[in-house]
């Protein structure tokens, strides 16, 4: 069956009885940018699920700024520790293949997060391409609905990280297909840079219509730029990706920030634990996507639900 059809309920159900029999598990989870706020939230939800189950410890690493060496070293440490499963966001999938072989040879289950690798025992899915498509489509719909013709867009990128590229290449592709001109593509992944880039581009293109951030953080910065530059936010579309608390709050405030391609962050965190447990215990499913959804004012209920995830 297509793993896109695997539902969150199925995942939860399969993992529900993992703690019966008194066995304990160690699941190691490596994200590539642990300094980013959204990652801290994912970790939090993973820890919360582990606590719920009661027999699982989640190990975290220190990989920051997509430092591949750091990630490899962390994974090597986990292999030494002989954890039960490793869930990794592969900064470079090819780079991790030897470690994958080594881990699996030792009986450690190997799951990937976001990116895919051949021969994995599981997959905590989240699709960059889907994320880019969702937010781009929302922008296209907005332009159509508001009769914005010859729309001009700024798309933020993070070129040093090609694995994330679908987050912006999908956007530019869809924009091209729909007659939206991308007037500027500049690197920006956090608030400070999002603000700086958007502010500057607004000087050059005061008639800018659309800003898509490769992450909510960048888009939040861009939103600030609109506010600070006094541009007419009512006539603009800002969209981000991730569904971070900051991004969702901006959507909820209802202004220019009209959409976030939001991953269901609580499910994602829980999936890290559950899919790893399923892989360890050889039960289905251990491959699943955590859906990315369009968070917008148009679906307030969904938005509220997404926001509620962050409530302590």
């Amino acid at each position: 069956a297509d793993i896109k059809d695997v539902t969150t309920e199925q995942v939860r159900a399969a993992a529900a009885n993992a703690c019966e029999g008194g066995k304990t598990y160690k699941v190691a989870y490596s994200h590539s940018v642990s300094e980013v706020a959204i990652v801290k939230q994912v970790r939090r939800f993973a820890d919360a699920r582990a606590a719920d189950l009661g027999c699982v410890t989640v190990l975290h690493d220190n990989t920051q700024a997509n430092n591949l060496e750091q990630q490899i070293n962390a994974i090597q440490g986990w292999i030494t520790l002989d954890v039960d499963a490793i869930v990794v966001l592969p900064i470079e999938p090819t780079a991790l293949q030897p470690l994958q072989r080594q881990a699996q040879a030792q009986g450690i289950k190997w799951l990937t997060y976001l990116g895919k690798m051949d021969g994995s025992d599981g997959f905590v899915g989240f699709d960059h391409a889907q994320s880019g498509q969702i937010v781009a489509q929302a922008a296209v719909d907005w332009a159509k609905a508001n009769n914005v013709t010859d729309a001009k867009a700024l798309v933020t990128t993070l070129t040093p990280l090609p694995p994330l590229a679908p987050r912006w290449t999908e956007v530019t592709r869809i924009f091209a297909e729909n007659g939206i001109t991308v007037v500027a593509e500049q690197d920006a992944a956090d608030q400070t840079n999002g603000l700086r880039v958007a502010e500057t581009v607004l000087q050059q293109h005061p008639d800018l219509d659309i800003i898509i951030g490769m992450a909510d953080d960048a888009a939040v910065g861009a939103l600030r730029a609109i506010k600070l530059s006094g541009a007419n936010g009512d006539a603009m579309f800002v969209g981000g990706q991730d569904g971070s608390l900051e991004g969702l709050s901006a959507v909820n405030d209802g202004g220019a920030y009209r959409a976030s391609a939001a991953i269901l962050i609580n499910e994602l965190g829980a999936n890290i634990v559950d899919l790893a447990l399923n892989a360890v215990r050889d039960v289905e499913p251990s491959f699943a996507y955590t859906p990315t959804v369009l968070a917008s004012k148009a679906d307030q209920a969904l938005l509220d639900k997404l926001l509620a995830n962050y409530a302590n």
């Binding site: 040093p160 956090d190 608030q191 400070t192 502010e199 600070l228 709050s249």
Partner: protein
């Protein structure tokens, strides 16, 4: 790190005194000329560059960097360095963000300034009082304080009181408050260096710390004050930054600022070993970097090319530096 042995054999200086003056002038003018040339270039490629609005926007974009660079430059003139400024910026941002609610705006601002000054004070005590290596110590606090900031902020911090955010966008007499703050810091720095007794004393420390001690300067006190001052203005810069972005991301706020500041200040002609320098040239150094970043975005230059351009500017700056020091 000086090349005493090398300069002697160097190409002969223009012997004619008139040539010499002309030469010196042209090297001294290199920075303003570079700025002017770059401005013209950007103008030709993106006319909007030359608008008042864009220049104001550059001024806002460099305002935090400038606010750190001025005290940082004074520290460097005294032969010291503080690599922890980026992390301290994050820590101050986080502290401010967390304390608006419990303490109110004035309280939060005061606490933030106190934290920044405190961090500077600690760096200063370790370096100036205990005599530890400025580079190693602040390389250490760079890492340590980043950890601290992230530890204080397990959840994202954003959405500050509107009365505070005003700082980030309001204009007074036609100019943004941030620009005014920046200009005040520049004026303060220039005035301290030019008018107060401590100005030449700071330079003296950088020229020869032992001699400064023998001559009776309060070497430790000046060192500590410079670090504390740097910490204070980093806190000011943190408040400026977060009032602008309305968010205090502990992991990414101020990352790499130590390198930007160092670059700007070296561009501004302060030698790494200290002992001389002018606040005004530092201002030009910061401005050059800010203009470069702005113009490259306006021209929508791809990342790789912007990196190469920025790097090249630095190498050229180093070359000008050699010419300048050969003359003296």
């Amino acid at each position: 790190m000086t090349d005493t042995g090398m300069t002697r054999g160097a190409a002969a200086a223009p012997e004619n005194p008139k040539n010499r003056d002309w030469f010196e002038l042209s090297v001294a003018a290199a920075l303003p000329v570079a700025i002017a040339a770059l401005a013209v270039f950007f103008y030709l490629n993106a006319p909007v560059f030359m608008t008042a609005n864009n220049w104001i926007s550059i001024s806002v974009q460099v305002s935090a960097l400038m606010t750190i660079s001025i005290p940082f430059a004074m520290l460097l003139m005294a032969g010291k360095i503080d690599l922890s400024v980026g992390s301290t910026l994050a820590l101050c941002g986080v502290v401010a963000g967390l304390s608006f609610e419990p303490l109110g705006i004035p309280g939060a601002i005061l606490l933030t300034l106190a934290v920044g000054t405190g961090v500077g004070l600690i760096n200063g005590l370790l370096v100036a009082s205990l005599g530890m290596s400025p580079i190693i110590v602040t390389l250490g606090t760079l890492t340590l304080i980043r950890g601290l900031a992230q530890w204080l902020a397990p959840n994202p911090i954003f959405g500050f009181p509107e009365e505070f955010l005003v700082i980030g966008y309001e204009r007074v007499l036609g100019l943004p408050i941030l620009t005014w703050i920046m200009m005040a810091v520049i004026a303060l720095g220039a005035a301290v260096m030019a008018l107060l007794p401590i100005g030449p004393q700071i330079v003296a420390l950088g020229v020869n710390q032992r001699a400064a001690f023998l001559v009776g300067l309060r070497v430790k006190a000046i060192g500590i004050a410079l670090y504390a001052g740097t910490g204070f203005f980093v806190a000011v810069a943190a408040l400026m930054s977060i009032s602008r972005i309305n968010s205090a991301p502990a992991g990414t706020l101020g990352v790499g600022v130590e390198l930007s500041v160092l670059t700007a200040v070296l561009l501004g002609g302060i030698p790494f070993a200290g002992g001389k320098g002018s606040v005004i040239r530092v201002v030009l150094g910061v401005w050059l970097l800010g203009m470069l970043a702005n113009g490259l975005i306006l021209m929508n230059v791809p990342t790789e090319l912007s990196l190469m351009t920025t790097g090249l500017v630095l190498v050229v700056a180093a070359a000008l530096d050699v010419l300048r020091s050969r003359r003296s």
